[in-house]
């Protein structure tokens, strides 16, 4: 049915308002555009920013139509928080890659005692996902003294996967973040990249292409 020779790669970023998903989506889409691809990015502002669930979508290829993915069409889901990984998991392709920040942010129903935070979420995801990469981006970010750069650590991990490794990441990051924070953001990016490379064998063993 669809257009002849149009292949779209879809990335989805899921997190909690204030975690920097929007900046991350911006960096990914600018990097894809700089690599000469057609790009669409979509995000929701407004109500969801007050600590609610947030998602951003980036899609790129020779020509992109819908900025939104359907269920099971996302090539890589980058979850900034574990509960949000579970929430958006249905969008990931069977053979897609799930990158999860090993971080727990309790939502209001949990804080006020109306619900429990799922304890075996990560285990469930590990059992279900075709490919999964778990990193402690928050811990790593705190180690280098700036919690806000966990988004760049996650992008660093994302950047190592086939098709994305040739994007001009460093240049794009320098152009996108504020000058005084360029250095620490680049450092965070490198940390994410190295972490993904270290655990990469786990991922690469999988025969599915990206």
């Amino acid at each position: 049915m669809s257009d002849t020779a149009v292949i779209t790669t879809r990335i989805m970023l899921a997190g909690v308002g204030g975690q920097g998903t929007i900046l991350a989506a911006k960096i990914i889409s600018e990097a894809a555009a700089a690599a000469g691809l057609d790009v669409k990015m979509s995000e929701i502002h407004g109500m969801s920013q007050r600590g609610g669930s947030v998602v951003s979508h980036v899609a790129f290829g020779s020509q992109v139509f819908s900025p939104l993915p359907d269920l099971k069409t996302v090539d890589c889901l980058v979850a900034f928080e574990k509960l949000e990984a579970i929430r958006q998991y249905g969008y990931l392709k069977q053979e897609g890659l799930l990158i999860v920040n090993d971080l727990e942010i309790a939502p209001m129903p949990v804080l006020s005692g109306f619900a429990d935070y799922p304890q075996d979420g990560l285990k469930q995801l590990k059992e279900t996902a075709g490919r999964i990469l778990v990193l402690d981006a928050a811990g790593e970010a705190r180690n280098i003294g700036m919690l806000q750069v966990q988004n760049l650590i996650l992008i660093g991990a994302l950047s190592t996967f086939p098709g994305l490794e040739t994007f001009p990441w460093e240049e794009t990051i320098k152009k996108t973040v504020r000058t005084q924070f360029a250095e620490i953001n680049l450092k965070a990016f490198q940390i994410g990249k190295d972490l993904a490379a270290e655990t990469g064998h786990e991922v690469n063993r999988n025969q599915h292409g990206f």
Partner: protein, 622 residues
Amino acid sequence: MNDNQPILMTGNEAIARGVYEAGCHVSSAYPGTPSTEIQENIGTYPEIYAEWAPNEKVALEVAAGAAMGGARAFASMKHVGLNVAADPLFTVAYTGVTGALVINTSDEPGMHSSQNEQDNRRYAEHAKIPLLVPSDSQECLDYTKAAFIISEEFDTPVLLRTTTRVCHSKSLVHTGSRAQIPIAPYVKNIRKNLMIPSHARLKHPEVEERLRKLSVYAESTPLNRIIPSRNPEEASIGIITGGISYQYAREVFGDSVRYLVLGFMFPFPENLIQKFADSVDQLFIIEENEPFIENACKRLGIACLGKEVLPLCDELSPDRIRAAFLPEFKDSEADEAKIPSASSNRIIDKNIPQRPPALCPGCPHRGVFTALARYRKHVISTDIGCYTLGALPPLDAGDFLFCMGSSISSGMGFAKAFQAAAASEKSAESPQRKVIAVIGDSTFFHSGITGLINVLYSRTPMVILILDNRITAMTGHQHNPGTGKTLQGADAPEIDLYNLVSALGFAQEQLFQVNPHDLEAVRNSLKEAMDYSGPAVIITKAPCALLPEVKNSVKETFYQVDRDICITCKACIRTGCPAIRITGGKSLIDPDMCAACGVCMQVCKPGAITGPFTRAKEKAHV
């Protein structure tokens, strides 16, 4: 910005760029998701007079006046904003313009941040003005520029209609340079420009004639385009669509079908639609929400398939279109969860907790709602802004809400029902219930003040809380007449709420101003106001915790729970602060999240919460 390298822009950025390139002189707007960033971006072009108006009616009137004076003018708002601005809209549609007038309405299928799902394409038909509907950022820029030209040529306001997914999606855009447009000379002509019945009677037939001319224009404008299928001989399916629905349809059907994409959607290009319908065996109409194009087709007697299979409610998505039109998809995927709207999704564990938005740590509204907890047996008429979140658990302080400004006026109406009930019961024993209206500063300036005048005028006994957090927070921190700054951040006269309300005639015993972080002060003023026999106003004044100056001032400070003293009464949890949770049977405050407002400390009876403490410096530099 004028080279040929395309730039990634949101639809909103591209509209702002289009307004700039069109040589627009005056732009007025009131914030509202998903339209807000249009005006924020217009504000970055010094060539344009750009402002935040106190509401959409004022914004459109300012723009209409500028257009009357010969300028190219622009007004922008969210879909419900056009309801507020509908009065000037319908009459500037009669007078027309001296310069040009373009009005953006940003609709919200899916209601990500809205209270209803109205489809404002119908406003164009109702007001008899042309309607342009872009489907990506490049079209946002191009159609905005085209809209100014159409406005000028046909002497009409033009409605530009966008939706969330167009406003907040980025795609590549080629920009151009700004046209130098002189102010058109204004010539006094009251039969055209001053609508009294005798003049309006003359104008109405001209509006109908203009519509006829516009429908001729619609037949040939390049904004309406046919996209052939990859094999024209085979094309048995035709799709009429427009806006973001085109992108979804294209994702599903690719180049295997023929499309008629209506960028100029009203008046309808009837011949073009008829010819297109005749060229295909089967016609699908793909549009979000209302059957706007579909009804036009049906009026022409054209057989087509649309809302019989497509949902009226919520956003479309490629999957929703597949499920509607492709039988093979429907059969193979019987599971209804497979056809979600974009705003719902399928999860591995359906029972995971929701993550609703909540008032931020340190939010000045928290103290107000914590104090209001004692008044839950009364009726709380709430309004639209961050403070609407105070109606949700655990704060739970809110009864009803219609639209911006309604807290005071509808609260007053509710109070009249109470008074009528009390009069008929005539029993002095029945406990007296009162109405408490809760409204934000921006919302008060928007449309609360007229309601407050009526409360005083009608001597209605009720309490009005004006939550002055020094900014329009919900929509992302826009200035308003009370903040002392313009859209561009320059100094402006600051309208002081206390003086304003007192000037209306509220006497000292009816008017209070308190710091909402000081629970004792809020509670005392509430008690006095509730005991007062007539209307009473409490202004709570403290800046939004997300304002940079507030954020920076508390970055290193936090409160702490002494777990030996904590008795797990959960009083602190009931303030709904996202920084506090129960772990290991006791309360715990996350020092990274805590904004050191001290509200939790004030509700902690055993005194387990203390602070503020300052973090060791080395931990949080950079």
